[in-house]
Subunit: 323 residues, 2 copies
């Protein structure tokens, strides 16, 4: 008989991860899940510190996410951006008027000496979010994309070049100086941490930066809780974003198995889509517990269903590992 | 016979001065008038460098000024400010969405090392303004208000306290480190500078900070061109703002004569309102050329009329002083 799950840690990046995060937030009790968010996409723009993945998660969890764009805030307007264009300012990064408030408050607080963890917590509370949201670290780490067109910063690759360059590798600039924040250390060693989920985010651009924080990978492996990843690849394609394209450019098979192998011995379990059930035996053959379940999350119910399956799966692994 | 005027320098502050500035800009040829603007009201807010008087002038000259509020931009929206409130940010200073773009561009450029003179020039060009607009200096100077409630920063006094405290004096913090910018030095010694106007701005809060820049007062006096001030007081009252209230609190008579005396020997001429023509003899008695004319500027035509009268008056003084 399984015991009810106590605390869950979920690693997440942008839009794909935020879908499962919303499912988890709506399935678990307040405070039961802590989200650890990629900050490798963060950058300075017009003097503002912008954290795209944190904001996507905060807006998603507070029902403030823009359903039309997939990023930014609901009911957004673009008057500042229009004026920036008129005055000769940069407009390639589309800053919405409401979204700007988040960047202004964050930048002001960081400048005043607050940590990104503290600032994120404040914003999260103001947005009424009931589960902790932690940046992967408080130091600035910048994901740099190696490509056949040279190395470029993440936003340059992702927004300006629309992921067109052929990717050859990644570098997480500044990660060697990053450290596990006190909040994250507490979480990773918490006796009631019963599961660690890797959301279906881009493994290279969203999850690997988190794993590059010194001590993170070792702490995840050392945790008593099993680590389970959900495949962002369904039938050889990514629902959103350049995951499959990048896998092809890196010479990897574009399938869920390759995602499982990418995470390697970090994982205890793996969840792939029902359409990819034929890969189950191969995944299990590499020593992982594995299940197949619908992973396409179009509705809130889809998100909650997958969240419930993932939490139950983690719980089963915990129970089967307990003598 | 008078010669046509060549170049005019006009010292100006916020709304009151900007009205005459618009008249001058519409009366004189492109480049013929240079505006020198008070920056003592400038401050940092949410990490942004905000220059209220420069912006009021830029927006006024480019027909972008908000006719409803008297400050900020036309067709303004407040979505960022609403979101700031939601997220626990400061909302006492009302930043409009379009207006924000100006502050973002300015702050980014200043941080990158551009001078306020250069940034103002760029913004001015983008807004299609054809007359140079110069800040009084490139250094940060902050007008501090001495009051019976203690000393406070300008925006604290003006916006938060709505000018309620009883004023006892002023201090222009940082002015001792300020210098005349190269552009201003060029202007003040230009052989074709035929007149210097002090717009009907608040003498204490808008003009005195300009005069506090080391070398400014001496350069204005040393210039060949006559210095003429236009009274911001009509029949003992200010059209807008706390000028008359401040004069009362400082124990000064609330009339145009007291304004003329406040500027003292800096002036060669003084323009007061037709309603105050009874003061003409007193003003002339203090050694100034003086005229009375309608100075209430409600319409663009009012502004152009006063501009034309002021320029003609300067020209007459120049001619009468030339052997």
């Amino acid at each position: 008989m399984t015991q009810p799950i106590r605390r869950i840690l979920a690693l997440t990046g942008g839009v794909g991860g935020a879908k499962l995060a919303l499912g988890l937030a709506n399935t678990l009790n307040p405070g039961q899940v802590t989200f650890v968010v990629n900050t490798g996409d963060d950058f300075e723009h017009l003097g503002l510190r912008i954290c795209p993945d944190i904001d996507t998660l905060l807006y998603t969890l507070s029902n403030e996410a823009n359903p039309d764009t997939g990023w930014g805030r609901r009911n957004e307007t673009w008057h500042c951006l229009e004026a920036l264009g008129q005055l000769g300012g940069e407009t390639w990064f589309r800053l919405g008027d409401r979204d700007l408030a988040t960047h202004l408050i964050r930048t002001t607080a960081l400048t005043a000496g607050a940590s990104l963890t503290t600032v994120t917590q404040r914003l999260s509370e103001r947005l009424g979010i009931q589960h902790p949201v932690l940046p992967m670290c408080d130091q600035n780490v910048a994901t740099m994309i190696g490509s056949t067109a040279g190395e470029m910063a993440f936003q340059h690759y992702f927004v300006r070049e629309r992921c067109a360059p052929n990717v050859t590798g990644f570098r997480f600039q500044g990660s060697e100086q990053a450290t596990l924040s006190p909040a994250l250390q507490e979480l990773l060693t918490a006796p009631d941490l019963d599961g660690i989920l890797i959301c279906p985010s881009n493994p290279f651009l969203s999850v690997d930066p988190i794993l590059a924080v010194p001590g993170m990978r070792a702490a995840l492996k050392a945790a008593r809780a099993p680590v389970v990843a959900i495949s962002p690849i369904i039938q050889g394609a990514a629902i959103k974003g350049p995951t499959a394209k990048i896998m092809a450019e890196l010479g990897l098979p574009q399938d869920a198995l390759a995602v499982a192998r990418h995470y390697g011995d970090l994982l205890d379990g793996f969840i792939l889509d029902s359409h990819d059930a034929s890969l189950l035996e191969d995944v299990r053959g590499s020593g992982l517990d594995a299940i197949a379940t619908p992973t396409l999350m179009l509705t809130l119910q889809d998100k909650m269903n997958l969240a419930k399956v993932a939490v139950d799966f983690v719980n089963e692994i915990t129970t089967s590992n307990t003598p």
